[in-house]
Amino acid sequence: MAAPRIIVIGGGLAGLAAVIKIAEAGGTVDLFSIVPVKRSHSVCAQGGINAAKNLKGEGDTTFKHFDDTIYGGDFLANQTPVKAMCEAAPGIIDLLDRMGVPFNRTPEGLLDFRRFGGTLYNRTAFAGATTGQQLLYALDEQVRRHESDGKVRKYEGWEFLSAIIDSKGTARGITALDLRTMELRSFPADAIILATGGIGAIFGKSTNSVVCTGSAQSAVFQQGVYYANGEFIQVHPTAIPGEDKLRLMSESARGEGGRVWVPRAPGDKRHPKQIPAAERFYFLEEWYPKYGNLVPRDIATRAIHKVVYEEGLGLNGQPMVYLDLTHIDRATLDRKLGGILEIYEKFVGVDPHDEPMKIFPGMHYTMGGLWVDFNQMTNVPGIFAAGECEYQYHGANRLGANSLVSCIFGGFVAGPNALAYARSLPAAEGDSGAAAELARQAEINSKLLQNEGTENPFKLWRELGDVMTKHATVTRYNKGLKEADEKVVELMDRYKKVNLSDKSQWANTSFAFARQLQNMLVLARVIVQGAILRDESRGAHYKPDFPERNDEKFLKTTKASFNPDCTGPRFELEDVDIQHIKPRPRRYDVAK
C-alpha cells in the first residue's frame, strides 16, 4: 500500500506539532500556510505555557491544573480530553526545553515558573514575554529539519479554500489558491488537519493577526462540519487600544505583580504618579481579594467594563484603566517582561517602567470552534482539527497560558490519529470528486472577479467588525444580538454587489480578502445566533437579563450545522462529559 498522504493546513503551534508527530512516525506531510509558517499568529502569545511541574514546592499537581481549567471554563469543556492535556503538559514543557526554547531559569538552572490568572499556583513556564514566539520557532526548526529530510513539503503562500469530499462523505483532499500566481489547484490526501487558528477578523479590531479570519473553519462548516460553542468569545482585559488592531498586553504583567486601578475621583486630571495610594481604586483587589489582579479574563474584563461604563471611572472619562508596573524594579521587568514593555513603548510612546500603562479589554480568542471528537476528528471522516480553530479544551472561558499547551497537545493528538486513520482508509474511487470541487471553486473565483457592483469589501468588513464588537462581546442582550444578526444578513446581501478594484491575476490581495469576508459573514451568524439561544450567563458569555448559570438547560455544547437558507445555521445541544469533576458554583472572591 502507498504511504498515506496527510495535509496539514496552518503552520502555527498546532499545525507544526501535528506535522512533527506525523513525520516522526514515518508519514509524509504537505503543509499549507498563508504566511511563511514562522510568521504565524502563535508568535503573538506572550506570557507563557502552563504545566503543573511543581518546581516551586507548592504541592501543585496535574489534577489541580485540570480542576482550575474546568472551573475557569465554567464546566462547559468535556473533561476527559482536558484531563489528558493537563497530564501531558509537564512532558510537553520538557520536550520544548530539549528543543532549545530559551525559557527563563532559576539560579540553579532549572525552569522558572510564574503565576497566571485563575490559579493560585506558579504554573506558567515562560521565555521573557515572548513565549509564543519562542515556542513557534522551536517547532519551526524541527519542521525545517524534517523538511530537509524530505518528509515535509511546505506550501507557503497558499490559502486553503475547501475540502474535497467524496460521494461517501469522506474527505479526500483539498483545494487551495496560490496567493502569488492565483493558481487554483486540488491536492489529494488521505486525511487533512485544520490548524487554522482564531477568528479575530470577524470582530474587526482584535488582538489577532491579519490572517486570523476563520475563513477555513467557515469553509468546512459550509461543507458539513459542525461548529461548536461559537458564542464563547474571550475578550482579554488588558489590550492597548489602537487604530489598526488591539495589541495584547500580557496577563504576565499582572502575574509579575502588575496592578490594575483607576483614580477614585471621576475625571481626576492629575498625573498617575501624583495620585496617592488612598485615592486609587484597585478594584480587582477589592472585589476579588483571593485572586486579586489574577482573576480569570472574563471576570477582569467585566470588572473593567463595570468601572468604566457603570461607575464612570475611566481615565479622563475615556474607556481606559491603568495597568501599573512602576513599583517593580527595572531589571526584573526587563528580564521577565521586556518584550511586551517594548511593544507598549514603541506603539504608545510612553515608557511603562516609569508610567502606568493605559489599557482596555479587546477581543482576543474564540473558545468555540470546529466540533471534534476525543481523537480530534470532526464529524466528516478524514477532517481533523487542532488548536484554536477547534472547541475542545477551554469550555466557556480559557485560562491564560493554557492556549499554547492546548495547541501543542491538540496537534500531538491529531497528527498520529490522522496517520492511523489514513493507514486504514480504503483506496479512493476515481478522482473522489476533486474535479467537481475544483470547478465549484473556479466558478466562485470567476464570479467574484467579474462581479459588477458598488461595494468595497474592506468597508463591508469594517461594518461587520463594528456591529460584532458592539453586540457580541462582553455584555450581550438578545435585542442587540438580533440587530447584529440582521446587520450580518444585510452585509451578506450587499456582498453580492461587491466590486473588486483589483481584477488582476497576480498577488491580488483584495481578491483573497473578499473570499475570506464571505466566509467570515457565515461564521458571524453562528456566533450571534448561538449567543441568542443561550439564555444564561456562563464564563465569557454574559447576559444581564439572564445573570445566572443554568446547568439544567445549558450545561450543553452548542452544535451548529450549516443551512444555506436565509434563516441561518441549525442548532442542537449536546451533553457535556462531566465524569471527573462535579459542577459547582464558580466564584473568585474566595479560594475555590
Binding site: D94, G100, R105, E141, V210, F347, F458, A507
Partner: protein
Amino acid sequence: MADKIVQIEIKRQASPDAPAVWEKFEIQWRPGMNVTSALMDIAANPVTADGRSTTPVTYDSNCLEEICGSCAMRINGKARMACSALIENLEQPIRLEPLSKFPLVRDLQVDRSVLFENLKAVKAWVPIDGTYDLGSGPRVFPQQQEVNYPLSNCISCTCCMEVCPQFNEATGFVGAATIAQVKLFNNHPTGKVFKEERLRAMAGDGGIQECGYAQNCVEACPKQLPLTEAISDVGRDVMVQKVKDFLRK
C-alpha cells in the same frame, strides 16, 4: 489636528516585469496611526491624491505588533517594520518602497525565502532524539539563557540583509541573521553537536569572511539583536575550525 492630511507616496509595480510607478495618496490622519493602518485605509478607498481609482497596495503584514517579521519595507529610504512606523514620527511625504535586495513580487511585497533556505544550510535546529517523553532538558543557567534569548528573538524580517553592503549576488553572503542563529545553536548544549558542520558552512563562499564590518545590520535590527557580537564570535570560531581542519589534513 483632527483634519490633518497624511501624504504618502508609494512605489508600485504590478508584477516583477511591470514598470515601477509612483502613486501619491492623501489620507486622513488619526492619533496613533502607523504605516500599516494607512495602507489599510488605502485598501478601503483606493483612490490617488489626484482622484484616480487604483488598486489596493500589495504588501506583507500579519501580527501588526512587530513580532512576526512580515511587514519590512523601505520607509523614507530606511529598511524597517511598517507596523511600528508611527506616522507622526515620519517626515512627509512618506515614501514607501519595497526592500531592494530581494526578488520583487508586487508593490511592497518581496520574496525573502532565501533566509529560510540559509537556515536549512546551517542546520539551525537542535537534533532531538524524538518528541516522546525523555525527561527534562539540559540544565541551563540564567547567565547562559540571557545570552541565548536575545539571539532567539530574531523575527526573520531581513532588515539586516537589506542594509548590508555585502549582501548581494556577487558575494552570495548569508547575512547577519543566519550568523546569529549559528551562534545560538552552537551555544546550545545539544545543538552544538553540529557546531563543526555549521562553522564549515560559514567558512566557504558567501560565509562569514564576506562581512565587511559596516555594522549597518545592528543599527537596522528592530529587535536589537547583538549581531556584530555574533559575527565576531562566529568569525573567531570559524578561524579556529579552519586551523583544526588544516592540521587534520
